[in-house]
């Protein structure tokens, strides 16, 4: 078969390593407060990008990195260019990170229609911010394409795509017809490769194609829910340090406390 065209979906998210003590929300806007932390490429998107690169290595896949995001947030796309994807496309949308999944899926499906024939869409299993875990599945349903979730390996044998994915606590090896949507989970073999310094510099100069969300005319259905409340849980307990002279007394005191709390 000719080289498959793989589209990998990327999202810059609020750094998940931001300590809880520094996290703040904007109660009026029902979203994280502006400037609370930096945006980085999500961990599952990194795995999806590496899987796309493996398909480029093994099957000569042509990779397009596609993202819906604030026009100023290009970290993920620049990172993808630095590890030598073939093209990068951004659908510009202010406040994209806080949009409902139906809106993002609708924009992405419309954007896919602007790209040359797509054989495979790779996405992280969930964005590590709002954690809806819905966009690629909504896209698969809108496109009418088969979808396999929690993928760890994928490779072409001729024109047939074989996929190893998590299933019911174990794994399954399956044959997936094309075109298809795969969601990718983290795996030791999918740690995103390091970019070469020269490629990092070149990535800053490479073009990123832009579609404006308003121009795409997305057919997304309206949001399916309203956010009635968003809050940071109050810390209701203070850690009770178990006293004791030496480990045996500490352990005995702890066991007594666990029994009082009916945890033992």
């Amino acid at each position: 078969m000719s080289a498959p065209h793989v589209v990998v979906l990327l999202k810059d998210i609020l750094d998940p390593e931001l300590p809880g003590s520094r996290f703040r929300i904007d109660p009026a806007r029902m979203e994280p407060a502006q400037g609370v932390g930096s945006a980085i490429l999500g961990p599952f998107e990194r795995s999806a990008l590496e899987l796309a690169l493996k398909l480029k290595d093994s099957a000569g896949a042509r990779i397009t990195a596609l993202s819906v995001g604030d026009p100023s947030l290009l970290d993920g796309l620049r990172k993808a260019l630095a590890v030598r994807v073939d093209a990068a496309v951004q659908v510009g949308l202010q406040g994209a990170a806080n949009q409902p999944p139906e809106a993002i899926a609708g924009l992405l499906v419309t954007a896919l229609g602007r790209l040359e024939d797509v054989d495979l869409v790779l996405a992280g299993r969930q964005a590590g911010d709002w954690d809806h875990g819905q966009v690629p599945y909504l896209m698969a349903e809108a496109l009418g394409w088969p979808c396999v979730g929690l993928v760890r390996r994928a490779w072409y044998e001729g024109d047939r795509l074989q996929v190893l994915h998590d299933h019911a606590g174990g794994q399954r090896l399956v044959l997936v017809p094309s075109p298809a949507v795969l969601t990718v989970t983290n795996d030791d073999a999918l740690l995103l490769r390091m970019a070469r310094v020269s490629d990092l510099m070149a990535a800053q100069r490479r073009p990123i194609e832009r579609f404006e969300a308003g121009e795409l005319g997305s057919s997304a259905s309206p949001p399916g829910f309203t956010i009635a409340d968003l809050w940071v849980p109050a810390r209701t307990s203070v850690c009770e340090f178990i006293p004791g002279e030496g480990p045996d007394e500490q352990a005995a005191n702890l066991v007594g406390r666990l029994q009082e709390m009916r945890l033992l």
Partner: protein, 319 residues
């Protein structure tokens, strides 16, 4: 959502037999009356999970559905067919690996809305409100579905299985579906230990354990407490523990009654995996961030505290 429709609880047999489906049914019965809906249970999978009998013993109409392959494509087809047949307004399923994929797919096909990882359902002025964690558990949000069916996946232990009640029934039926995805090989789970997601006690070790050997003692402690072994990303990255035992944003989300964190600093990535429960932290650094999230703390060297705790637990349990 109020009306004459159905709240459909579905099980497909992951985990402890029919427990995830039974918890979904517990949720269905908790909100059905206030929403004016009737609870129905569907047992799916290949073969159907064994929950239909138990569901009928809880007083509901239960369907044991044959003919599926148990994969997400097949389960989606079956649930969508049931949604259409029963005028379903609300679908409740477990937020396990398949459930989180099923929710958006069923909702999209049935014209509804999906909400994953719910930790609470409430009915306020006749409307369903769904609470779920966001941003790795740093915040919570409460959502109100605007379309039906609402397809909600529930985190483990959000509800208890329902008590017995009269008036239930079991109905066998066949619903053949074909998956577009062809199975080549099924690799069953390696059940060296219980599932993290179902455990009432989880004992996890982190970088502070120092070496792979130290995890043998943690496994013994977990067993003595009636729980299972977990680990932080740092311990998995070191190769000390299988990735299947990782708790955190990129690992499993656990909902135990007691979570014991040994030699774990308390990075946000790890804390995102803790949905509920009392946290007991054991660490030699009194300033470790894990103590900010713990209710109980033990300061000291894990190498001596873990064996001492194992001895004390066994003594308390008469072992």
């Amino acid at each position: 959502m109020s009306g004459t429709g159905v709240v459909l609880a579905v099980g497909w047999g992951d985990g402890e037999g029919d427990r995830p489906g039974a918890e979904a049914l517990g949720g269905a019965l908790a909100v059905a009356a206030e929403l004016g809906l009737t609870a129905v249970y569907a047992s799916l999978g290949d073969p159907p999970e064994p929950g239909a009998e138990a569901a009928s013993a809880s007083g509901v109409r239960a369907l044991a559905v044959r003919g599926g392959t148990g994969d997400v494509e097949s389960l989606t087809d079956q649930i969508v067919a049931l949604v259409e047949e029963f005028s379903v307004a609300l679908v409740l399923i477990a937020a396990d690996d398949r459930g989180r994929q099923l929710a958006p797919r069923v909702a999209a096909r049935a014209g509804g809305v999906a909400i994953n990882n719910a930790t609470r359902l409430e009915v306020i002025e006749g409307a369903l409100h769904v609470t779920r964690p966001v941003f790795g558990g740093k915040a919570m949000c409460r959502l109100v579905p605007l379309r039906v069916p609402a397809v909600v996946s529930l985190r483990s232990r959000t509800f208890e299985p329902p008590p017995p009640a009269p008036g239930g029934s079991v109905e066998e039926r066949s619903m053949a579906v074909q998956s577009r995805v062809r199975l080549i090989e099924n690799i069953p789970p390696v059940l060296e230990e219980g599932r993290l997601e179902d455990a009432r006690v989880v004992v996890s070790g982190g970088r502070g354990m120092g070496a792979a050997d130290a995890f043998a003692g943690l496994s013994e402690l977990a067993a003595a407490l009636g729980g299972v072994l977990g680990a932080s990303l740092a311990a998995v990255d070191q190769g000390w523990v299988s990735p299947s035992r990782q708790v955190g944003l990129t690992g499993k989300v656990v909902s135990p009654e007691l979570y014991v964190a040994v030699g774990i600093s308390g990075a946000s990535q790890h804390l995102a995996g803790l949905a509920s429960g009392v946290v007991l932290a054991i660490n030699n650094d009194a300033k470790a961030p894990i103590f900010e999230s713990a209710q109980l703390g033990l300061i000291g060297d894990a190498k001596v505290l873990v064996p001492a705790l194992l001895k004390a637990v066994r003594a308390a349990r008469g072992g």
